[in-house]
Symmetry: C3
Subunit: 352 residues, 3 copies
Amino acid sequence: MKMELREIASLLNGEVEEGGDLVITGASGIKEAREGDITFLANPKYAPLLETTRAAAVIVEKGWELSCAKPLVRVENASLAFGALIERFGPKKIEFPPGVHPMAAVSPKASLGKDVHVGPFAVVEEGASIGDRSIVRSAVYIGHDAKVGADCHIYPNVTIRERCEIGDRVIIHGGTVIGSDGFGYVAVKGVHHKIPQIGRVVIEDDVEIGANVSIDRARFDRTIVRRGTKIDNLVQIAHNCDIGENSIIVAQVGISGSTSIGKNVILAGQVGVVGHVTIGDNTIIGAKGGVSKSIPPNSYYIGLPVMEAKQYKKTHAALSRLPDLAAKVKELERKLADLDRRLPGHAATEND
Amino acid sequence: MKMELREIASLLNGEVEEGGDLVITGASGIKEAREGDITFLANPKYAPLLETTRAAAVIVEKGWELSCAKPLVRVENASLAFGALIERFGPKKIEFPPGVHPMAAVSPKASLGKDVHVGPFAVVEEGASIGDRSIVRSAVYIGHDAKVGADCHIYPNVTIRERCEIGDRVIIHGGTVIGSDGFGYVAVKGVHHKIPQIGRVVIEDDVEIGANVSIDRARFDRTIVRRGTKIDNLVQIAHNCDIGENSIIVAQVGISGSTSIGKNVILAGQVGVVGHVTIGDNTIIGAKGGVSKSIPPNSYYIGLPVMEAKQYKKTHAALSRLPDLAAKVKELERKLADLDRRLPGHAATEND
Amino acid sequence: MKMELREIASLLNGEVEEGGDLVITGASGIKEAREGDITFLANPKYAPLLETTRAAAVIVEKGWELSCAKPLVRVENASLAFGALIERFGPKKIEFPPGVHPMAAVSPKASLGKDVHVGPFAVVEEGASIGDRSIVRSAVYIGHDAKVGADCHIYPNVTIRERCEIGDRVIIHGGTVIGSDGFGYVAVKGVHHKIPQIGRVVIEDDVEIGANVSIDRARFDRTIVRRGTKIDNLVQIAHNCDIGENSIIVAQVGISGSTSIGKNVILAGQVGVVGHVTIGDNTIIGAKGGVSKSIPPNSYYIGLPVMEAKQYKKTHAALSRLPDLAAKVKELERKLADLDRRLPGHAATEND
């Protein structure tokens, strides 16, 4: 694969000032780049890397002031533009041709759209439907009356249980389980009786879900992950949760039952959220935060249990000085006793 | 599906005061209910929902004092009664008919009980046995000499390794692994040598295990989960653990090797327990708690590391006032120096 | 299986002082041992168990001073020696004979070494290669151009995605996913655009990976787990991480993107590490620790966020006395006001 720099600029709706006839033979990260590669600068704070990279040319953003001996391609969003380019120079994309593998088990009562790929050992049950161009990989299970939209990619060993609904352009990575029973019991004399979980899970369009995630079906209604939200690996979402649009749920987060997460929320790694609370839009919860109550929108909370970030920082700064504080109090007690002794009218009975 | 309210009352061993001839056409949660639905009140504190629900009738408990314009069915346990009812009005239950799918790989030396269902791409190895009426779904793996009891439901993509033993009426959700090797090594000059893990896992009757759980086999003997215990998704149980009866292990809990958990214990979400300790019967550990020592029975512990709940609350209330406390100490130091200066016999050498 | 104690000693390069003609019929842990069993003492602090064990003989280390009525076999490393012995006395090892199961889907363009076992419903894609004597169990997925080395054991339901590389003697337990996409997006006006993840995962020789683990592929280059490192269940390793040699990553640890972990590091259970930091060689992070910055080598850190262990212990001891400290400060304020009133020259305006 070879492209002139000016062709690349044109492909990315970008501008090249000089070196337009340079021939680019690969694309790579700024640290990994080799001779002939094009790379990109994600953030002007990394500008010193322009000095050391072996790349032949660099994609940067319009308006960044940079001094660089190498030809620059200026675009609106460098990271995004580079993402588009990488498919040309990256490893050959694997094709999953339309068709059902002879060793798949697809019910004659399932409904498959145009150009669907179903891999070996996949199961598609009665009443299930799969939208156009979707890719269902090996050993995926799609339950009775479940719906998978168009242009989805469901990776190997995923389980999607009965009646769950997956939107368009959804990606689900290996080992994930959608629609397992919510965790609900009634205790009668110390014995736990299972509460039927007859609801389902709805995953809206453009959601991506990582590997080995669990999203439980609702007791009656639905657990929902709304449009554009991205979920990392090993996340737990309990029954009846409502996860808002365009949120980011980082690895190993756990969200308990009936909790609502707003739009554009970020839950950092290993956060835990109790049940029946609400986290407002645009809020960030720092890594390992323990959320035990509702959190307002546009906030930044940290800690276990979480506090507003400024309070957290003040508290934890004070905490790290706590041994000193204890020593100071001891010293104060000593001095005060000393003062007391030196005072006229000192009453021995009071302090001794 | 249609039933008169009086038929429902009779089915549930309940009582209906008025409206017995009302025709019920569905069953749903109190918030989701539509016209013609029957619903239930789980807890009298939610009584205000009786005013707003669209449900036609409500299941409540005998003895609750409630004013409600809608017909009530009074039963012993509303949640339990409703659970029994839901199977009549809920979505049609999926049947898994007895028989072995032609694309399953069942050893001729495995032993299958009466009316067992084995789905496509399931593997049942030599010497394994499956009890009457159990359902083994697609791509489940059941290892050599493993035993699954009667009336179990093993969901897709579950792995049960060799010699493990699963009781009756056990439910295991998708992606779970039972009997992986315990995590044990001997370090010799910085190199870790694997310690053989030749024990197994025993899961007793009426246990339910969530999705993507890992329960490791014992080094010699057995890791055991006792009767009636319920385990949520993404839980880790290490080798040689002993989990008591009727306990509740919430999502993403991790229990280290050789630890014993009592009966009727609740470990809330993301709790971690170190190895070789005991948690007594009826004890509750709050969410995200870090248990680093044995905990007595009938206790409630919270925090990282866990403290008895009352002490935790006192400590954390004090912690949130810590910046104020530091300011107070500073003020005390100032005042004390001031007093000292005003004292007769002030010695400049002492404090200056 | 029967062996004389002297044969066992000779097998283990050990020494037996008396009782060499004793016949041993089994091998077991010191607590579980029955008559006729041989057992071992892992650590001299457990010496009192020598009094109570039912075992006929005990493997101990040269140089330990022990008084024991039972015959002892003295070796270099008791645990290691016992591991070697257990294979003789333990349950019969399951054989996975060479050959491809007729219900596996192996591409004719995949390359299989000598004596490879491929189980039912396994998928080996075009360009993939599997080394000599490796065992690929049921429903394992091995992607395009992926490499698995020699003498590996890949347990059921594992997913290894395209171009990933697994060394020799690697063990991967059930449900684990290697090479899922890194979690990376560019936000443009609140919408998250996926960043292509075109790198791969490299797992070096002698690594063991537990059940339901996720290791993401790099954005460009590689995520790497180096030689001899052992990873427990449900661990998350994000894109571009570099995990050093002979480290121990305990269950439910999460490591964020581009972080480097040194050699011989121990991350205890449920530790979380932020992205783009380094943990030095030989460092230990205590259970549930939250690492938010780089940590030097040869250290021991604990807490949330982590502190050097000594500081942590001091701080947390002070924390547990914090309610007392607050009470002391209140008392000091009272006494100081009292002193102030008793002072000659007391100015009412100052303190009242």
